[in-house]
């Protein structure tokens, strides 16, 4: 036996394995086209079958949790963008809600509705990137570019609101960073009117495609018990048949006023996860439309800059601790904020969904083909910034 | 022209064949053997055996040798270890080989004096049609027997290469 250089994998020398088969150690990543960032999977192969898989993370560790401690509460909002860079507004929202809970602050309904709308657009953004890259992993190149076409529209909307395409930092403690720009209503309406037909386009290419079904159905199966035990959350759990969604279970930012379905499937394979996420896109579009049509949005927006007073005067957050959970596109995003009564947080811990989900990788891919590994890890929709922080 | 072609490909064939024997790495030997087979295919063309030439490339070079290369790659067989041979082999091997060769050549020259010469187009009976006709008339029985042989070989190979006997 010899050390493979990868902790956790001891590669048996040629022919020395128990079954007599030859094993091969393959380092997938940190630079590999389908590990989506800098994930490294040390994979032990028997032919094309994965016999052991050890994920190695930390290549994108940036010490964000440490940095929170030297920023003021309001400054730290910008840090949250960098965590899950595909869903920045969800992170903004989680952090702001946590601090607002500490402060006991209730923000104006208009701002809440605006937050819901933009967060759902973020969910669309994130799911579009996921669908595109996942399809690309399985070889469907066109879906990727279709998805990015719509994502581009969403990013333009974000840019219109905040001046930034990705690192928006648009939500601030107490409300929003800026007054919404002129013409936003029409812009979002145009986008959301055409969006469901675009989803139909993706489904035309994939949902009934025999090769797609062959590649995804029955692949990456995992039981619900295993998932709960391993800390998986979000669409993966919903694809296993559990109706769990923080937007429903523990409503925040007036989600309880919106009418939407929580799609579930019971097959718990890659195809089910695909179906769940596609359906979530439709539901998100529905929420955005409700927010747009809602009475609240038609009134004046002056109350949105309610936070002005807080920003200019600064604020002290009362001592205490909160754990605020929101449903990010990837699953349960929790912010554990500890305050010691000063102007900057004493400790912020982010319970990021990717970190939890990624833990299930070995359970999911061991014993399957290497091609299924790609499909399986693609179906998890992790973001390495979200994992490593 | 014919002599030049023969000369070129005969030399290539012999050099490749020597390479097959002296190379220590099996994959180099295999590639050299493909070279031998390719040159032989050209010589077959010269002898008017066009079907056999094509079959040589398709079956030998394109299928059998690919199988060899495949197995070598699969086993990732390394170079052969050098091991001391007995003194007699080291001293007598090459001379004996040369002697054997010389003797053979001598008999060949004796048996086939320079009377009959090969030139391109001297024999045109090697077409696919002619071979097909002979195959399905005179040689029908051997042909059927070989097909059974291949079937047996396929089954045998599958049984042997299966992961574990159960």
């Amino acid at each position: 036996m010899s050390e493979s250089g990868v902790p956790g994998i001891t590669v048996l020398e040629t022919g020395q394995t128990e079954t007599g088969a030859r094993r091969m150690l393959l380092n997938m990543g940190p630079q590999h086209p389908s590990t989506h960032g800098v994930l490294r999977l040390a994979v032990e192969l028997d032919g094309e079958i994965v016999t052991k898989c050890v994920p190695d993370i930390g290549y994108l560790h940036t010490g964000i949790e440490k940095e929170f401690e030297v920023k003021t509460y309001q400054q730290a909002v910008t840090l949250t963008d960098r965590v899950d860079y595909l869903a920045p507004l969800s992170n903004n929202l989680g952090y702001c809600l946590a601090v607002e809970k500490l402060l006991g602050l209730e923000i104006p309904p208009q701002a809440q509705w605006m937050r819901v709308m933009l967060t759902e657009l973020t969910r669309l953004n994130s799911h579009l990137v996921w669908l595109g890259t996942h399809a690309m992993d399985i070889g469907a190149m066109t879906v990727f570019l279709y998805c990015f076409r719509e994502r581009e529209e969403i990013l333009k909307i974000f840019e219109m609101f905040s001046g930034q395409r990705m690192m928006t930092s648009y939500f601030r403690i107490g409300g929003l960073a800026l007054e919404p720009p002129r013409g936003w209503h029409q812009r979002i309406k145009t986008f959301i009117d055409s969006f469901p037909s675009k989803v139909d386009e993706y489904e035309d290419l994939l949902t009934t495609n025999r090769i797609w079904i062959g590649r995804t159905k029955g692949v990456g199966r995992m039981t619900l018990e295993d998932m709960l035990d391993l800390g998986v959350t979000g669409p993966m759990l919903r694809a296993a048949g559990l109706k769990i969604d923080a937007r429903r279970d523990d409503p925040y930012t007036s989600y309880e006023k919106f009418d939407f379905e929580i799609p579930i499937r019971t097959e718990s394979d890659v195809y089910a996860r695909y179906q769940v996420r596609v359906e979530e896109m439709r539901q998100s579009a529905r929420i955005v439309r409700q927010a747009l049509d809602g009475e609240k949005m038609k009134t004046q927006m002056e109350a949105l800059i309610y936070h002005f007073k807080i920003v200019t005067e600064g604020f002290r957050v009362p001592e205490g601790e909160v754990y605020q959970v929101i449903e990010s596109p990837r699953g349960e995003l929790g912010f554990y904020v500890v305050s010691d009564g000063t102007t900057s947080p004493y400790r912020v811990h982010m319970r990021t969904p990717s970190f939890g989900n990624l833990q299930a990788t070995p359970r999911m891919v061991e014993g399957t083909l290497i091609a299924d590994t790609i499909a399986s890890i693609g179906s998890m929709d992790f973001v390495l910034g979200d994992t490593d922080r | 022209m014919d002599l030049i072609l023969f000369g070129i490909f005969a030399v290539v064939a012999v050099l490749c064949a020597i390479n097959v024997v002296v190379q220590t790495h099996p994959i180099s030997s295999a590639i050299s053997l493909v070279g031998v087979m390719g040159s032989l295919a050209v010589l077959y063309l010269l002898l008017g055996a066009e079907f056999i030439a094509a079959a040589q490339v398709i079956v030998y070079a394109g299928a059998i040798m690919v199988l060899f290369v495949f197995v070598i790659m699969l086993l990732n067989a390394g170079t052969e270890g050098k091991k001391g041979r007995s003194l007699m082999v080291q001293l007598l091997g090459a001379p004996l080989l040369v002697a054997f060769l010389g003797l053979t050549c001598y008999f060949v020259q004796r048996l086939f004096p320079q009377a009959d010469e090969v030139h391109f187009g001297g024999f045109t009976g090697g077409t696919a049609k002619a071979i097909g006709e002979a195959l399905f008339t005179t040689y029908l029985l051997p042909f059927e027997v070989t097909s059974v042989l291949i079937l047996i070989a396929i089954i045998g190979a599958i049984v042997l290469a299966r992961k574990e006997m159960d």
């Binding site: 956790g8 949790e65 559990l242 601790e321 004493y346 | -």
Partner: protein, 157 residues
């Protein structure tokens, strides 16, 4: 001992009934229930909460460094019960000299990476953890960055 004002919380009461000495304190603030658990009993308490109180999910394990106060570390567990919906925070206080606590990986497998992360960034050792290595930082990294006495700026030479 369980503070009296928490008696009407079913979970706290059940836990007190299961192991009276396990709870050393607690509070209910901003709608969130926090129970302080004696570090020695954390594994047993977690097993009870998972199997008897339906806390099937472990949301996260993290730590807070109260340097220079003593006991210095708080290991914080966030538990989640899906049916009925409920969240619970457990807290264990550890001394700064040799922070060690029992691992809960036997209860929830998801504790694996969370505990590794805490070990990596705080240097808290989890006894009984199957594979306690650094997870974020390189194997040869010195120090534990999320400790309060670890500088935010500056680089190692």
């Amino acid at each position: 001992m369980l503070p009296d004002n928490l008696r009407d919380h079913a979970v706290a009461a059940a836990l007190a009934a299961f192991d009276a000495g396990a709870t050393t304190g607690g509070k209910f603030e901003r709608g969130e229930l926090t129970l302080e658990i004696a570090p020695a009993r954390i594994a047993g308490v977690c097993g009870f909460l998972k199997h008897d109180q339906n806390f099937v999910r472990l949301s996260s394990v993290t730590a807070v460094d109260r340097y220079p106060a003593e006991p210095r570390f708080e290991v914080v567990y966030h538990l989640h019960s899906i049916q009925p919906y409920g969240r619970l925070r457990l807290k264990c206080r550890l001394s700064g000299a040799k922070p060690e606590i029992e691992s809960v990986t036997a209860v929830w497998r998801s504790a694996d990476w969370y505990e590794r992360e805490v070990f990596d960034l705080f240097g808290i050792v989890f006894r009984g953890h199957p594979d306690l290595r650094r997870i974020m930082l390189p194997e040869d990294w010195e120090g534990h960055p999320l400790r309060k006495d670890y500088p935010v700026t500056g680089s190692r030479v």
